[in-house]
Every structure is written in C-alpha cells, then in structure tokens.
C-alpha cells in the first residue's frame, strides 16, 4: 500500500473479518433527505486503538450512534465479531460486546458512583472472567481513579470525575470493543493526560478501542490507526503519521494550523 492515503487509493476494507472486531459495510444513515453517512465501509482491527477523526458534521458521532444501535440504518451492514448486528437494540449490542461512552455524561445526581456502575454489572450480562482486574464495581472504580469517590453522589462529582465515571460505566459492560466519544473534550491538559493514561490501561486489558477526538496530540500518541471521515464519507485510513501528512486530509480538516 502506498504511504499517502487519499480517497482513490484508500483500501475499502470490507474484507470479512479475521483481525476485524467491527466491520461496517456500505453504511448509509440519513436524517430526512440529508445523508449523514453515505456508503461508509471500514473495519476496526481487534486489539488496536483506532482514532476516528474528521471535521464537525463529518459523521463521526453519527457513526458511533449508529453502530451502538441508537440510530436507524438506511443501508449497509454492521458486523461485530463477524456477526450481523445491524438494526439491533442498543442494550443487545452492549451484550454482544460493544460499549460506548457519551461526550456529555448525564447520570442521575442522586445515584452514587457504586450504584451507577451496578447498572451495567447487573444488566449487560457479560462474562467478566476475561477481565480479572475489573470484576466488580469497586475494582472498576479503583481502576478508573474513582476509588475514594465510590460512595459519593454523582451530583457532587467534578467534570473530570464524571468523565472517568463514564469510562468506568462503559468498562463495567465488560466490552471487547469500547467506543469513546470525545472523552477529553473540555478537560485541562493535566486531566487529559491522566485520561489518556487510563485509556492506555484499558487497552492493556485486551479491549479494542475507538476514540473520537479533536486533539491531534491525543491521536498521534495513542492510536495505532486513524480513520478520517468527511461529509459522511470515508476520506482516508492508515497509520496516524501517514494519514495526518496526507494532503486531502489536511485540506479537509486540519488546515494551516496543524502545519504550524
């Protein structure tokens, strides 16, 4: 494969999964007449951290919302572990092994951290022997740096802690694949460095990860591979350095600021 990923030479990775944990084939999602995703095909490799980037309105969030079962599919297929999950209910998809976080965590203020984590532990119905360090609510909270806040009410948590809780909640689903929707938006530099460390630790547990992120330093330091969306289509995919150097990607998304 050439080093420069541009639309005409991008691999359409609709290959039946050997290494792919999630494969999206010709996915189309529309709101009325507007196509938010227009025939997107891509695959997420098992065991990797994949960055999903693109300008605002490019379809990143739509992609996450669709594969996690919260938006109806107009055309195409979504495969998880090779099994068809197209059009499945969100809670079924969680049970099949894919969890997601929300950018703006809205948890009931009258629940404690422990109680929030109890929900996926009770309902996601996943085998947790695979993740020995993440067997119960206390272990998951400690893993995510929420140990001292275990019995605190969510209404008393800081924004950073709510972000951690959101990752912890998704981890409590014992996923094989974790989709992180802008886990670092609005955090200070120090806090985002901490959350990046947390994401690395999650990956070391053997969980494949997709992160939507605007911060390029996060993408370059965390991701094995990057997928770029633009106007609801796949623009490029490949290794971070290669993709970010690509002319089409820079024009569509990064602009002059990145070169400087």
């Amino acid at each position: 494969m050439p080093d420069t990923a541009s639309p005409d030479i991008t691999r359409r990775s609709a290959q039946p999964s050997g290494g792919a944990i999630l494969a999206v084939e010709d996915l189309t999602v529309a709101f009325g007449g507007l196509k938010a995703l227009d025939g997107v095909s891509l695959s997420i490799a098992a065991g990797e951290i994949t960055g999903l980037i693109g300008p605002n309105g490019s379809g990143k969030s739509t992609l996450v919302n669709t594969v996690s079962g919260q938006l109806p599919v107009r055309g195409g297929r979504i495969r998880l572990h090779g099994g068809d999950v197209t059009g499945r209910r969100p809670d079924r998809i969680v049970r099949a092994g894919m969890a997601r976080t929300y950018q703006i965590p809205r948890v009931p203020p009258t629940l404690t951290v422990e109680e929030v984590l109890s929900v996926p532990l009770l309902y996601a119905g996943r085998d947790r022997h695979r993740l020995p360090g993440l067997g119960d609510a206390a272990a998951i909270a400690a893993f995510c740096g929420l140990g001292p806040l275990f019995r605190r009410y969510c209404g008393d948590l800081s924004v950073t802690d709510l972000r951690r809780l959101e990752i912890a909640r998704a981890l409590a689903c014992a996923p094989d694949l974790l989709l992180l929707d802008e886990a670092m938006a609005g955090l200070s530099h120090e806090d985002s460095v901490e959350v990046m460390g947390l994401i690395r630790n999650v990956h070391e547990q053997g969980i494949s990860i997709v992160i939507i992120e605007h911060l390029m330093r996060v993408i370059t330091s965390l991701c094995h591979r990057v997928v770029v969306l633009n106007n609801g289509r796949l623009l490029a995919e490949g290794a971070p350095a290669t993709v970010l150097a690509d002319q089409a990607v820079r024009e569509a998304y990064l602009g002059k600021g990145f070169a400087a």
Binding site: Q70, P90, V94, R95, P105, S118, V119, Y123
Partner: protein, 322 residues
C-alpha cells in the same frame, strides 16, 4: 445507608395503625384510615412509575378500570376470578398505554395519560349496556361490608404496595430506573432493556391502582363514573407523592396521612365545598415551601441534629483534653 429499623418503619407503622384502629373500632377513624390507605396505595403506585421518568396524570383511568372490571366480571365468572381479571385487565391497559406513550417525554406524556383517563370516563357512558352508563354499577361489597375487615384487607394491599415499592428501590431496580429517567440512552448503553423496564413499571403501577380502585368500589358496593374516573384520582396520587417525598416509600405514606388530615381539618373548620379551595391552596404552599416533601424536611432536620451532636462531641473532646 439505611438502617434495618428505618426500612421496617413503614411496615410497623401500617401494622400497628391497622390493628389499633380495628381494636378501637371507631367508625370515623376506620373510614379515615381506609381513605388514607387507598390514597397511599395510589400514591406509591404513581411514585413507582415516576421513578422511570413517566409522570402520569392517568391514575384515575386505572382506578376506574379496577372497580368496573370487578363489577362487570363478578356476576360472570365469580369473585375470585373477577379479582384476577382486575389484575389482568389493568396489566393489559398499562401495557397498551405504556407502548402508546413510550416516545413521549415529560409534559406530553402527562397530557396523553390525562387524555386516556378522560376518554375512559366517556367510554363508560357510551356503553351503558355493559357499564351501567352514568347511572353507575354495583361491584361486590368488600368483606361483607364490615369496615374493620375492609380496613384489614386494604391494609394488606397497602403492605404489598410498600413491599413492591421497597423492592423497586433496591439495587436491582433503583439505579436502572433513575438512569432511564435521567437519560434513557445511557441506560440502554448500559445494557438495560429500556422499553421492557418502562412497561414493567407501568404494569406494576397500573395493577396497584386498579386493585385500590376495586377495593374502593367494594366499600359501598356502588360506583358511578364520576366517582372513580374523576381527575381527582389522577391528581391526588401526584400531589401526595410530591408532598410526602418522591422516590421513597415512606414519603407517599406520610403524604397520604398529611393530606387526609389536612382535608378533614379544612372540612370541619371551613365546611361546604369552600374547604376544597383552602385545602388546594395549602397543598400548593407546602409544595413550594418544601420541594423535597416531608421526607426532605425530616432529612434536613436529621442532618441538623446530627451536626449538633457531632459539634457537641467535639466540644466534649476539647474539654476532656483541656
């Protein structure tokens, strides 16, 4: 953390009150207790539903369906089966209404449920051959008309409602319910089957209100549509749960006692129908004055008392060291 005693408090309260009233056997107090118990059941049922974010104004529909189902089915299939029919019909109605209002949020949900209650009343009047029309219908009299046994049976139903409410406030349901209320997508993303849980809460709530309605109809063995399908039975559960303290079991109980007491005082002091205006105004003032209800007020008082004891102990500690 709740201690064992506070958890048992509602059960002890109900048992002791019921036994004491049956023992004393004063008709006025027994009638008052029956009124408190029936409204408390509807308020608990309303609260159970509201924990999933479904703020209903349709309680009257189930209250009426309960009493009418018992009245219609008892001559056809006998008393025992008629009670089972009450459960089945209310569960079906709850499922239907729950599915129809599934996508509606907050105010739209409330309006839709209110519409359901109002249309039920119309339906009863439209089919007089089955329902007796506006002339009313005669459900079987509860416990052969002995008020003490009536109170005993309704007390048992209240205990069942309390046990259900407590179960649904346990770790299995409370966090999932609250998550559905705050952000249903987040609940679904945590593996919660949101639709099934919302319908489940609706069924529990609807059946409880229906059974309360059937008991109410059986008190005198005669009901008219304006008796049970009135908006009063839709608003009262909401008012009581809010007044007492939402998301709790003891709240609707305290709220029912407070509201009935208020009603009786207003009735005897002001009388006529004017008392209802004063009674309504006082409820509004209470709700504005204590948004967390009676339970919230008690919690605040307990927190204040706790702080005082902690402060006192610290003072003693200092004196000891001095």
């Amino acid at each position: 953390m709740k201690t064992g005693l506070t958890r048992l408090l509602p059960y002890i309260l109900i048992l002791l009150a019921t036994l004491a009233l049956v023992w004393i056997d004063k008709p006025f107090w027994i009638q008052l207790a029956i009124g408190v118990a029936i409204t408390a059941i509807t308020a608990l049922a309303w609260d159970i539903l509201s924990r999933t974010g479904q703020v209903s104004l349709g309680s009257a529909a189930f209250f009426g369906i309960g009493s009418y189902t018992l009245a219609i089915f008892e001559p056809l299939i006998g008393l025992t089966l008629a009670w089972i029919a009450v459960v089945v019909v209310c569960a079906l109605a709850a499922t239907l209404l729950g599915l129809l209002t599934l996508r509606l949020r907050r105010m739209y949900f409330a309006i839709a449920t209110l519409g359901f209650a109002l249309s039920m009343q119309v339906l009863v009047v439209v089919f007089p051959d089955v329902t007796g029309g506006s002339g009313g219908i005669a459900p079987p009299v509860l416990a052969d008309g002995d008020p003490r046994w009536q109170l005993g049976l309704i007390g048992l139903l209240l205990l069942a409602a309390v046990a259900l409410s407590d179960t649904l406030l346990g770790l299995r349901f409370r966090p999932a319910f609250f998550m559905i209320r705050t952000k249903p997508e987040l609940a679904a993303a945590s593996g919660v089957p949101v639709v099934r849980m919302k319908i489940f809460a609706f069924i529990v709530s609807g059946v409880l209100i229906g059974l309360a309605g059937a008991c109410y109809g059986g008190l005198y063995g005669y009901v008219v549509p304006t008796d049970v399908f009135t908006t009063n039975w839709s608003v009262l559960p909401l008012a009581i749960a809010t007044l007492g303290g939402m998301d709790t079991t003891i709240g609707p109980l305290l709220g029912a006692i407070a509201l009935k007491a208020l009603e009786e005082v207003a009735r005897s002091v002001i009388g006529g129908t004017g008392y209802q205006v004063v009674y309504g105004a006082v409820i509004i003032l209470f709700v504005i004055g204590m948004p967390q209800g009676i339970v919230g007020l008690l919690r605040k008082a307990a927190a204040l008392a706790g702080r005082r004891t902690v402060a006192g102990e610290k003072k003693k500690e200092r004196e000891r060291h001095a």
